[in-house]
C-alpha cells in the first residue's frame, strides 16, 4: 500500500483504540446525567481507581502462579476490577450524593468535584506517584499487515469495547432495570408513583456506569501508564465526548467517544504538535454547541411553565 494510505489506516486504528476508552468512560457520565441530571465529576477519578484495582488484581492473580490460562486471568481481573469499582461508586453515591438529592443541584456537583480530588490524592498518598503498567494478560504480538502495524492490544481494546457497548445497549433497551432507568430519566415525578424503586435504580446506574469505566480502565492500563492524576484529563475528554454525542444519550456517548479519539490522534498529524489537541477538541465542542446545543443525538429540552 502507498505511504499516505498506510498512515491513514494506522492512525485510524489508533484513533479507534483511544476512542474506545473515551466511549466507555463517557457512558458513565451520560447514564448518571440521564437519570439524575447531575454531572458526576468524580467519574474520571473512579476510572483511575479502576485501573489501579485492575493492576493489583492482575498482579495478585499472576503471583498466585496457579498456571491458569491467561484468558482466565484476564477475565477474572476484569471481573474483580468491575466489582470493586462498582462497589466504590455505589458507596460514593450512597454516602456523598444521596443526602444531597433535595439540595440545590450545584451542591451535588461540588461534592462530586471534592470526591474526585479526594480520590486522586488519596491514591497518590497511599500508592505513590510511580507510573505503572498492568502486566500483559495475553500474548503480545505485532502483526504487520502490508505496512500497517496492528498489535494484539489494539484488537483486544477495540473488540472488548464493542462487545461491552453492545451488552450495555441491550441491558438498557431490553431488561427491566434498563426500562426503569429510561423511565426515570423520562419523568422523575411520575415514575416513582408507578412502583419503580428509584434509589435502587440510581445505585444500579452508578454501578453499571462505573463497571464499564473499569473495563475501559483495564484496557487503558495495558496499553498506557497509570498515574494518580490521569483521571483528570481522560475524564474531561470523556465528559466532552458525552456532551458532543448529546448528554443523556447512550448511543450518543459512544459516537462522541470515537469522535474525540479521532480528534486526539489526528491533531498532531495536521498541526505542529500534540499540545494543540485540547485547543482543537474544545473549539470543536464550542462550534458544535453554537449550532447544535443538544449534541449530535440529544433532544432539546422543552421547559414547561
Amino acid at each position: 500500500m502507498p505511504q499516505p494510505v498506510t498512515t491513514l489506516v494506522q492512525q485510524t486504528l489508533n484513533a479507534l483504540q483511544v476512542g474506545s476508552v473515551y466511549a466507555l468512560i463517557a457512558l458513565g457520565y451520560t447514564m448518571v446525567y440521564g437519570i439524575l441530571t447531575m454531572i458526576n465529576f468524580a467519574h474520571g477519578d473512579i476510572f483511575m481507581v479502576s485501573t489501579y484495582l485492575g493492576f493489583f488484581a492482575a498482579a495478585w492473580l499472576l503471583g498466585l502462579a496457579l498456571n491458569m490460562p491467561l484468558l482466565v486471568i484476564f477475565l477474572s481481573t476484569l471481573l474483580l476490577a468491575m466489582i470493586g469499582t462498582a462497589t466504590l461508586a455505589v458507596i460514593i453515591e450512597r454516602v456523598a450524593y444521596k443526602p444531597l438529592r433535595q439540595a440545590p443541584r450545584i451542591s451535588a456537583v461540588i461534592t462530586a468535584l471534592g470526591v474526585g480530588i479526594f480520590l486522586e490524592n488519596f491514591t497518590l498518598a497511599v500508592i505513590g506517584p510511580e507510573p505503572r503498567t498492568i502486566p500483559p494478560l495475553f500474548p503480545l504480538v505485532n502483526l504487520n499487515l502490508s505496512g500497517v502495524f496492528v498489535s494484539t492490544i489494539q484488537i483486544v481494546i477495540i473488540g472488548v469495547s464493542v462487545i461491552v457497548m453492545i451488552i450495555l445497549d441491550t441491558i438498557v433497551r431490553r431488561s427491566m432495570t434498563g426500562m426503569a432507568m429510561r423511565a426515570i430519566s423520562f419523568d422523575k415525578t411520575i415514575v416513582p408513583l408507578m412502583g419503580v424503586p428509584v434509589d435502587r435504580i440510581i445505585s444500579a446506574t452508578f454501578a453499571l456506569g462505573s463497571a464499564i469505566a473499569a473495563v475501559g480502565g483495564i484496557l487503558y492500563g495495558m496499553a498506557y501508564q497509570l498515574d494518580p492524576y490521569m483521571g483528570i484529563r481522560i475524564g474531561w475528554w470523556a465528559f466532552i465526548s458525552a456532551v458532543v454525542g448529546g448528554i443523556g444519550n447512550i448511543r450518543g456517548a459512544m459516537i462522541g467517544g470515537y469522535i474525540l479519539g479521532f480528534v486526539e490522534i489526528f491533531t498532531p498529524v495536521f498541526l505542529p504538535s500534540s499540545t494543540y489537541r485540547d485547543f482543537v477538541a474544545f473549539s470543536l465542542l464550542l462550534l458544535l454547541l453554537v449550532f447544535r446545543p443538544t449534541g449530535i443525538l440529544g433532544r432539546p429540552i422543552v421547559q414547561k411553565v
Binding site: 441530571t37 448528554i247 485540547d278 464550542l286
Partner: protein, 372 residues
C-alpha cells in the same frame, strides 16, 4: 449610637486599609503577608464568580480563564509597554511626596484596570453564544473556554510566529512587535519580569472597591433582575426583565473582576505561566464560592479566607502528624464533602452580613420570614 451605626462600614473599611498600609512597616512576617494577599485576591475572585453562580444561579466553571487573561494583559502592560514610555517601575519609587508604596500604583492601577477590561471583553465575546439556553450549557462552554485559553497561551510561540508571518508583508514593524510579544508571553515557560507592585495595601484597596461595586450592583434595579433570574427565569421574563441583557452584563462584570484579581496575582507572584490557570484553579474558586455560600458577599469573604488559610494551616499541621504533604489534598476535599452534606448551602448561603445591606433592605429583611 445611630451615628456609629451609620458610619460602621466606612470605619471598618478605613481600619482595614490603614492596617494593610502599616502592617508591612511593622515587620510582619513576609509569609503571613503573602497569605493575606492571596486571601484578598481570592476574595475578589470568589465574589465575582458568586455574581454569576450565586446571585444569578447559572453555573460557570472556567473562571480561571478570565483571571489568566487579566494576569497576562496587565503583565504585558507593565513589562513591555509602560516601561518603554515611563521608564522602569522601580524608578518611580523615588518620586517625592507619595512614597514608594503609593508610587507602585502609577503602574499597578492602569495595569489592573486594563487586565480587567480585556477580561471583560473576553467575557462579552463568550457570553453571547453561551446564554442561548439555560442549565449546564454555560458550564460546558466556560469549561471549554478555560481549556482553550490555556492551550493558546501554551502555544503562544507558534501562534505569534504564524501571525507575524501573515502580517509581515503589510507592516514589518508590527510583525516584529507581534514576535516580541509572543516571545515575552513565553508559551509553557510563562511570562516573567514583572516587578513586585502589589502589596497588602493595594490588594485590600481593590478588595474594598470590588466588593463595594458588586454590592451596589446587586442592590440596584438591574441587580434585582439578576436575582429574579435565579429564582425563576421564565417569570422574570414575564415581568419584563430583559433576561438576556441581564445575563450578559452580569457575566461581563464578573469577568472584569476576575481580570482584576489576575492582574494583582501576577504582580504578587512576579511570574505567571499557563499551568497557574488550569481547570484546577477554576475548581478552587468554585469550592470557595460554595464553601462560603451562594448569593452572599460576606460568604465570599469567609469562603475565600477559610479555604486559603485552612490549606496553609494544613500545610503546617500535617507534617506534624508525620504524614506527607499530599494528605493536605486528601483532608481538604473530605472536609468540603462533609460540609456539603451537612450544610449544602455553604457557610452563609443566601444570607448576608447586615453591614453590607443598604438601609432600606434592612427593614425589609426584618419584616420578611427567614428563608428556609
Amino acid at each position: 449610637m445611630t451615628l456609629l451605626k451609620t458610619w460602621q462600614m466606612p470605619i471598618i473599611l478605613g481600619m482595614v486599609l490603614l492596617l494593610a498600609l502599616f502592617l508591612p512597616q511593622m515587620q510582619l512576617n513576609l509569609y503571613v503577608q503573602m497569605v493575606l494577599m492571596y486571601v484578598g485576591i481570592n476574595i475578589i475572585l470568589t465574589a465575582s464568580l458568586n455574581l454569576v453562580n450565586g446571585y444569578m444561579g447559572e453555573f460557570s466553571v472556567g473562571h480561571a480563564a478570565f483571571m489568566a487573561i487579566g494576569a497576562y494583559a496587565s503583565s504585558i502592560l507593565t513589562v513591555l509597554i509602560l516601561p518603554r514610555r515611563w521608564g522602569p517601575a522601580e524608578a518611580l519609587r523615588v518620586l517625592p511626596v507619595i512614597g514608594p508604596e503609593l508610587a507602585n500604583g502609577v503602574y499597578l492601577v492602569p495595569a489592573v484596570l486594563v487586565g480587567g477590561a480585556i477580561a471583560a471583553v473576553a467575557g462579552l465575546v463568550l457570553a453571547f453564544p453561551s446564554f442561548k439556553t439555560r442549565g449546564d450549557y454555560l458550564a460546558i462552554v466556560t469549561l471549554a473556554f478555560n481549556m482553550i485559553v490555556k492551550s493558546l497561551l501554551e502555544n503562544s510561540g507558534d501562534i505569534g510566529g504564524l501571525v507575524a508571518r501573515l502580517i509581515a508583508p503589510l507592516s514589518t514593524s508590527l510583525s516584529a512587535d507581534v514576535l516580541r510579544l509572543s516571545d515575552a508571553v513565553g508559551g509553557p515557560r510563562g511570562l516573567l519580569g514583572m516587578s513586585k507592585l502589589t502589596s497588602l495595601f493595594w490588594v485590600y484597596l481593590w478588595v474594598i472597591v470590588s466588593l463595594f461595586a458588586m454590592r451596589n450592583f446587586i442592590f440596584s434595579n438591574f441587580g434585582r433582575g439578576v436575582v429574579s433570574i435565579r429564582e425563576d427565569e421564565t417569570a422574570a421574563g414575564l415581568v419584563s426583565v430583559n433576561t438576556r441583557q441581564v445575563k450578559v452584563l452580569t457575566f461581563v462584570i464578573s469577568s472584569f473582576f476576575a481580570g482584576v484579581a489576575g492582574g494583582l496575582f501576577a504582580h504578587v507572584l512576579q511570574f505567571i505561566n499557563p499551568r497557574s490557570f488550569t481547570i484546577l484553579k477554576s475548581t478552587d474558586i468554585l469550592v470557595m464560592v460554595y464553601l462560603g455560600g451562594i448569593g452572599s458577599l460576606m460568604g465570599s469573604i469567609l469562603g475565600a479566607a477559610v479555604f486559603t488559610i485552612l490549606l496553609e494551616v494544613l500545610r503546617e499541621v500535617i507534617p506534624l502528624v508525620g504524614l506527607s504533604e499530599v494528605w493536605r489534598w486528601v483532608v481538604g476535599p473530605l472536609l468540603l464533602v462533609t460540609l456539603m452534606i451537612f450544610r449544602p448551602r455553604g457557610i452563609m448561603g443566601l444570607r448576608e452580613f447586615k453591614g453590607f445591606l443598604p438601609k432600606e433592605e434592612e427593614v425589609k429583611l426584618e419584616a420578611a420570614p427567614a428563608p428556609p
